[in-house]
């Protein structure tokens, strides 16, 4: 369980997050949605402790992050996995090296044990024949999957994904969404995902937080989001022609 209370973050004069309060439960896929520039990445980076908010608190299982000691923070971070918007794989390491990296840094496992774990997670993300290739040599979708594998290799309690399926074809995107949801349920992870993909919202939006101009405009589940009357939400959700048509049909059907 992650609880966020009245979070504020500015860069100089630009006030990006303006008092966000919400919470994310264990074993659920929590989605942050909102337009480009609405502050999703900044929000997730605050959760991770990569950015320091000026005001407000973030607590993990009731422990306030900003009050943790250096050692406690390091321990907490080892329970976090993050998939960055641009994958952020280490260029100088192979796919296998990338996924093995956290194990090498933080466990005392033998090479054979690490290798077994790496094979397992790479299998889990459906990547079986890319072990020895470098990030530059694989496709964007494969990079995303490697990033997910790296994020889950340490069995994290918290998983953060910044637009895990942006730039992917719809089929691969759904594959990745489902994968994240499966892992979340299987290992009871607290998962937070940034997205502006409506497919993801429909597929895996167990809890959705809608950000607009750095404020929480709405929150609820994917069942509720298509029924809400909140103007900002419907504008966002039905911004695509396809969804407008779907809504049209839905309304006509009802009458």
């Amino acid at each position: 369980m992650i609880e966020v209370n009245n979070l504020h973050k500015s860069f100089g004069k630009t006030h990006v997050l303006k008092g966000i309060t919400t919470s994310f439960e264990k074993g659920k896929t929590n989605l942050i949605i909102g337009q480009s520039g609405s502050g999703k990445t900044v929000f997730i980076k605050c959760l991770l402790g990569l950015l320091n908010p000026e005001e407000g608190t973030i607590s993990y299982e009731g422990k306030i992050y900003s009050k943790l000691s250096g050692d406690e923070r390091r321990d907490l971070r080892q329970e976090m996995g993050m998939v960055f918007q641009g994958s952020a794989l280490f260029d100088s390491l192979t796919v296998e090296g990338n996924v093995m990296f956290p194990l090498e840094m933080f466990t005392k496992q033998s090479y054979a044990e690490m290798k077994e774990r790496v094979d397992f997670v790479l299998n889990r993300v459906n990547l079986v024949d890319a072990h020895d290739r470098y990030p530059a040599e694989i496709s964007g979708g494969m990079q995303k999957r490697v990033a997910i594998a790296r994020a889950i290799v340490m069995n994290p309690k918290y998983l953060f994904c910044d637009e895990p399926n942006s730039g992917l074809d719809p089929k691969t995107a759904i594959l990745i969404d489902n994968l994240i949801q499966e892992i979340t349920q299987e290992y009871q992870i607290t998962t937070v995902i940034n997205t502006h993909d409506m497919n993801s919202v429909m597929e895996i939006g167990e809890k959705i937080v809608f950000l607009k101009n750095g404020k929480k405009e709405w929150e609820g589940s994917n069942k509720e989001i298509f029924k809400t009357d909140n103007k900002a939400v419907t504008n966002f959700v039905y911004s695509s022609e396809l969804f407008k048509k779907v809504r049209q049909m839905y309304i006509e059907e009802r009458n």
């Binding site: 980076k45 991770l48 990569l50 923070r73 390091r74 321990d75 971070r77 080892q78 976090m80 993050m82 960055f84 918007q85 641009g86 952020a88 794989l89 280490f90 260029d91 990296f101 956290p102 840094m105 933080f106």
Partner: protein, 219 residues
Amino acid sequence: MRSLILKEIDELIFNSLGIIIFIAIFIGGVVAIQTALNLTNPLIPKNLIGFATRQSVILEFAPTFTSIIMAGKVGSYITSSIGTMRVTEQIDALEVMGVNALNYLVFPKIIAMLFYPFAVAIAMYVGVFGGYLANIAGGYSSSGDFIEGLQMDFIPYHITYSFIKTAVFAFIIATIPSFHGFYMTGGALDVGKASTTAFVWTSVVIIISNFILTQLLLG
């Protein structure tokens, strides 16, 4: 960590030996020729060519000139490799995992640069040798005169002075570009800009510390 350090030694030191040797041999040659051409007075002994070559190469050209070149070559490599990691969020990824990224990225480079004085020692040797070759090829003085000059009034402390400088330069070359890469912001274009700025600052700091150290150690 050990493999990281070995990789950096390979990248920073071994991969630079070629250019270091190339530059040293020609600079040594040029110093010898210029000294020879300026010795028009027949009263000045010919062994001065060897003497001047040794002094200039050991005191200045091998440590300082090589370091400026290294500030460009090694420095831009360091800034761009760390800077690229910054803009592609690889550094954030390290931090999120709980790795002390600054330590992880910079420490191996500082350790690798501890081997830099060996590269400068090679530059000294090769530079003097280049002077010898140029001297013989141009027929300015006899081989005997040159070697006599090399051995004349040798002050071992000059070597100490040179290596103290080199060690300081090594530290500067490892740290200033790392700093510029690590704390940069922006995108790919800014990586290039950061490399340039890092080179300017690294050279400026080398030149100034060269002046200060010379004053302190020889003055």
